[in-house]
Amino acid sequence: MLSSTIRLLMRSASLMRPMITVRPLSIKPTLMNLNEKRKLLINEIPRRWSHVHYTYPMIESRVMLLLRLFDKIDPNSLKLDSRFVQDLGLDSLDIVEITAAVEDEFWTEIPEVDSDHFTTPRNIIQYLCDKYDVYEHIEPISAGKEYLKEAKEAADRAHH
């Protein structure tokens, strides 16, 4: 009885041996219970070396969705330029909560020195665009009109 269990263990140990050379995260997917709402497989968590292509519409839609989900904001009166403190009636503490949600969404850190200057959703989006080097929504000032048209056509061709 005992010897058979020992033989079983040794056989399973031999099966485990080739796995040790592989990177530990990819042995088998395990469920990580972050909370009831967000159960992720470990393989799905974006890692440092995974390249996510950030675009302006993607950042904008994510930030506006976050703001609409915030329970102190009326989703109908939310626009890109609606100011948090004056128009939406929020607090500096609420702005901290919003930046915490944005940090969780974009897997990044935003220091309080920067989050203090967030007055409109546009500020948050611009901050994230600066962070991720997204500038497709900005019209270049110094370029001539012909170059602008060519650059736009090239960008359209690249995306489609």
Binding site: L34, N35, S92, L93, E112
Partner: protein, 137 residues
């Protein structure tokens, strides 16, 4: 609001509590995880707003200490609810007719734990007084 160092420290503390509420897992009652997360967030919102008007720097420091103490207690015991205390352990039950010296009030204030600083002291009536009041009303 002047943007000095204590302002940023308070905001940092608030952010820490909110982040804690996002990743909170209730160990004792796993089904109550969402309730406890909501509790942490609402407690932070209410208490920070209640103490918004405090201007004395030492008081603000004490409140920051209170917040940090509550975070550490919650993380250590995995229980976000504060342990309530009624009286300092040596004192007699309160009788409202009794004259108290100023030092007694001071001692009572000092002996309350720091993590209950924002909670108001409610003087509870003893049973006989309560019964007489309900009989009258």
């Amino acid at each position: 609001m002047s943007k000095n160092l204590t302002y940023f420290r308070v905001l940092q503390l608030y952010k820490r509590i909110i982040k804690l509420s996002h990743s909170w897992q209730a160990i004792d009652h796993p089904s109550k995880t969402y309730e406890e997360q909501k509790y942490i967030r609402n407690e932070a919102r209410e208490l920070f707003r209640k103490n918004k008007h405090v201007t004395d720097p030492t008081e603000i420091e004490e409140h920051i200490r209170e917040g940090e103490a509550r975070i550490e207690l919650a993380c250590h015991y995995r229980n976000p609810y504060p342990r309530l205390v009624n009286l300092p352990t040596y004192s007699l039950p309160p009788s409202h007719n009794r004259i108290r010296f100023k030092s007694e009030y001071e001692i009572e204030h000092i002996s309350r734990p720091i993590y209950l600083k924002s909670y108001e002291i409610k003087e509870e009536l003893s049973d006989s007084e309560e019964q007489s009041k309900t009989n009258q009303s």
